[in-house]
């Protein structure tokens, strides 16, 4: 059985890879390459899996909220993803890379009895990225 909880954070970013020159970056990333960056209201869905047990809950909502708040929201919300988030330093902050970084931040010493099953990030209403946790 799975339980999914939705969170929100707002952050700015700029997509630009040092592997390419300025012109190639502009062509590849379009407006997302604008030098001063731009922002999104990200929706983050965190899914855990397990059995409800005696409490009837796969996971304590309060404990899950604390983990996500401390490891993600407190560090990502109202930040510049390129500049302010250490694990994204040197990484192009596409939503794909964001999903990988957030999964990694959650998985390190994962404290809940329920297993982390995946993360899903909605960058805008039209762009959604989903990652199933394999471990």
């Amino acid at each position: 059985m799975k339980l999914t909880r939705r969170y929100q954070f707002s952050a700015s970013h700029r997509l630009d890879t040092p592997a390419l020159g300025p012109q190639a970056n502009r062509e590849l990333y379009g407006k997302c390459n604008n030098p001063h960056g731009h922002g999104h209201n990200y929706l983050l869905d965190v899914t855990v899996a397990g059995s409800p047990g005696e409490s009837g809950q796969i996971a304590s909502r309060a404990e899950l909220d604390t983990v996500v708040r401390e490891r993600v929201l407190a560090r990502y919300d109202h930040r510049n993803l390129n500049a302010d988030v250490p694990e994204l330093s040197g990484v192009v902050p596409t939503t794909e890379n964001l999903a990988v970084a957030i999964e990694r931040a959650l998985l390190a010493n994962w404290p809940l009895p329920a297993r982390l099953a995946g993360v899903r990030i909605q960058e805008t209403d039209r762009n959604i990225f989903e990652l199933e946790t394999k471990r």
Binding site: M1, L3, T4, P52, I58
Partner: protein, 137 residues
């Protein structure tokens, strides 16, 4: 092929384990343990898996599916207090997980026929919290 049908019901509940102290219930369930209860607009998504019938082109008759959802879930649970009016929640804590499992238990026998089976019950308690149950133990 998958077919998903939605239904909604609004109900009140209290999440508190009868064998636990008030303090422990408060720790485990937070505000959900408030003794006089509170309510949600639940959104249910029921997913069936099967092949379209070669004659009708349908996996399952949608009108019948709607009637079954109404009979098994909406009529018994809508505008009810789950703990007081909807067994087994007089004995089982009506967490989102347990409500989803109970909905599965009610629907699975009526929706499984021929090559069609109930594949998933997704129950939203709020827009920020949902559970998925596929009949696993």
């Amino acid at each position: 092929m998958l077919l998903t049908r939605k239904a909604e019901f609004s109900a009140s509940h209290v999440c508190a384990h009868p064998g636990w102290s008030e303090e422990r219930n408060r720790t485990v369930y937070g505000a959900n343990a408030n003794p006089n209860g509170h309510g949600h607009n639940y959104l249910l998504e029921v997913t069936l898996e099967g092949d379209p019938d070669p004659v009708t082109g349908m996996i399952f008759d949608l009108r019948e599916l709607k009637d079954i959802l109404n009979e098994e879930v909406v009529e018994p649970m809508d505008h009810r207090h789950l703990n007081r009016e909807v067994p087994p929640f007089d004995k089982i804590v009506p967490t989102t997980e347990n409500v989803a499992i109970e909905i599965w238990r009610r629907l699975a026998p009526r929706l499984s026929r021929g090559g069609v089976k109930l594949a998933n019950v997704r129950l939203y308690e709020t827009s920020d919290l949902y559970v998925d149950y596929g009949g696993e133990s």
